[in-house]
């Protein structure tokens, strides 16, 4: 596997999501996004540090619902806003997708993953998504088609899902020899 910084996988989405750089304080306003108890906690900490600045919060317990509210908030947002996201890795990845799709630039976005949890793996064969506890390079079973998927070191900026593909796609099925196959 190449060095992660040369891939689409952000450092905060890896096994030790503790090394968050300091967030940018140069915004005209802030949109603080939290998922789960730890996410809300982080949002509260950020809000305290930003007292006196215009701050809006979008918090909840499920990334899908938070994503809807985040998209609505970003549709009204103006240049100058900074978005900060806190929550489990898979929520952060999904919500980053919402932000990116709404036109948020990387230098306007800060992510603090609060826990590893599951990750979403997208099957490139049947296109279903499996939430699994796994690391990059692990092999997991696709919930849609049952194939054994390698969790590849690519995660979509748009959807927040890791790419999964069949680990043994080029191996011949049992009982089939190379001559017969050719």
């Amino acid at each position: 596997m190449p060095k992660l910084e040369h891939t689409s996988v952000p450092l905060w989405a890896t096994a030790s999501p503790t090394v968050a750089p300091e967030p940018d304080c140069g915004g005209a306003s802030y949109l603080l996004v939290g998922v789960g108890a730890q996410g809300r906690e982080q949002v509260a900490t950020w809000a305290d540090a930003l007292s006196g600045h215009p701050v809006a919060r979008v918090v909840g317990d499920h990334a899908d619902y938070v994503g809807v509210d985040l998209a609505a908030a970003l549709a009204e947002a103006q240049v100058g806003v900074r978005v900060r996201i806190a929550g489990p890795v898979s929520s952060c990845l999904a919500l980053r997708g919402v932000a990116v799709n709404a036109g948020v630039e990387d230098d306007e976005l800060h992510v603090a993953a609060t826990a590893k949890g599951t990750i979403d793996v997208w099957c490139s064969h049947c296109t279903s998504t499996s939430a699994v506890e796994a690391e990059i390079d692990d092999v997991v079973r696709c919930r849609g088609c049952g194939r054994s998927l390698l969790v590849y070191h690519h995660v979509s900026r748009r959807t927040g899902r890791f790419l999964g593909f069949q680990i043994d796609a080029e191996a011949l099925p049992d009982g089939l020899s190379a001559e017969v196959a050719s």
Partner: protein, 314 residues
């Protein structure tokens, strides 16, 4: 192929002090290379090369157009275009290049032009019109000196705002910068002081660097700099670079063949690796990270931060 031979097909003075030049391919080709909106053409102006923004259609254009402000105290390129260039003349140019392209992800483009800085902005507005992009244009110019106003009005309609007084422009800029929907990118071209103001106010109003795009005409007149000595690593020879002489000039004088073009720290042609000493960067080409790394410099404008510098010319 990077060189173009162009023939002047039309000259026009749309406003006092500005000459618009139209070129076609000297070999009779009907189409010139397509370029990115905001590109400039490096033209050989009677022995010196100057970069001018292209103002016309960018896709398969039959002609290239530039508009040149006459600078009586400039280095001579603009005077040459105003005084020497005639219809039918053939000039050498480089292929258009761009460091001022529209951001493909932007959902709205805020274009700010000052004076002759309108030229790349016009190119952006044309592209925006062709692709149906959302634009807003602020154009500040001196009374009676607004080049390309009619074309901009036709392309941008009431999305074009004109200012001939500085106070009015500055006040409106504040309002506009503070009220842009997310997804807007800012593009500014104009005099240095104006660009510095626009970019500084944008940053103070929370615009991140990724949304800010600027095209500078070149560095304002630089101070002559402190004298230093430069050692060429390969030969071990040492040269004096006096105050007022550029490192590039000193190296060329000593017989080193250094590729160079704009001699203003803009084009990136004269990049030289630094192997000893600290460079004093004065260019607009290298990124902040590259300047920080201190292992390369643009020798046309940059000097030594200290008494000595060692460069590699392999």
């Amino acid at each position: 192929m990077t060189a173009l031979e162009l023939v002047v097909t039309a000259l026009d003075d749309p406003v006092p002090g500005v000459r618009s030049v139209t070129f076609a391919a000297a070999d009779g080709s009907e189409v010139l290379p397509t370029y990115v909106p905001g590109s400039h053409l490096v033209v050989d102006c009677g022995g010196r090369t100057n970069a001018y923004s292209l103002t016309g259609d960018a896709v398969c254009p039959p002609t290239y157009s530039i508009s040149v402000l006459r600078l009586d105290d400039g280095a001579g390129g603009s005077r040459w275009i105003h005084d020497e260039l005639s219809v039918g003349d053939v000039v050498e140019a480089r292929l258009p290049r761009s460091a001022f392209a529209p951001a493909s992800k932007a959902t709205r483009h805020l274009l700010v032009a000052g004076g002759i800085g309108v030229t790349p902005i016009l190119s952006h507005v044309r592209a925006a019109d062709q692709w149906g992009r959302d634009v807003q244009v602020l154009y500040a110019h001196r009374e009676g000196r607004g080049a390309h106003v009619a074309e901009l009005r036709e392309l941008a309609g009431d999305r074009l705002e004109l200012y001939t007084d500085q106070a009015g422009f500055v006040a409106r800029l504040e309002e506009v910068l503070a009220a842009q929907p997310l997804g807007t990118h800012l593009y500014v071209c104009g005099p240095t002081a104006m660009m510095d103001h626009v970019l500084a106010r944008a940053a103070e109003l929370g615009w991140p660097p990724s949304r800010l795009h600027s095209e500078r005409f070149g560095i304002d007149v630089l101070d002559p700099g402190e004298p230093f000595t430069v050692t060429v690593a390969e030969s071990g020879t040492t040269l004096d670079v006096p105050s007022g002489t550029s490192l590039l000039e000193a190296l060329l004088e000593a017989g080193h063949d250094i590729p160079n073009l704009c001699r203003q720290g803009v084009c990136g042609e004269c990049r030289v690796p630094v192997v000893g000493g600290r460079p004093l960067h004065r260019d607009l080409f290298l990124t902040e990270d590259e300047k920080e790394a201190a292992d390369v410099l643009m020798c046309c404008v940059s000097r030594a931060d200290g008494p000595t510098l060692e460069v590699s010319l392999r």
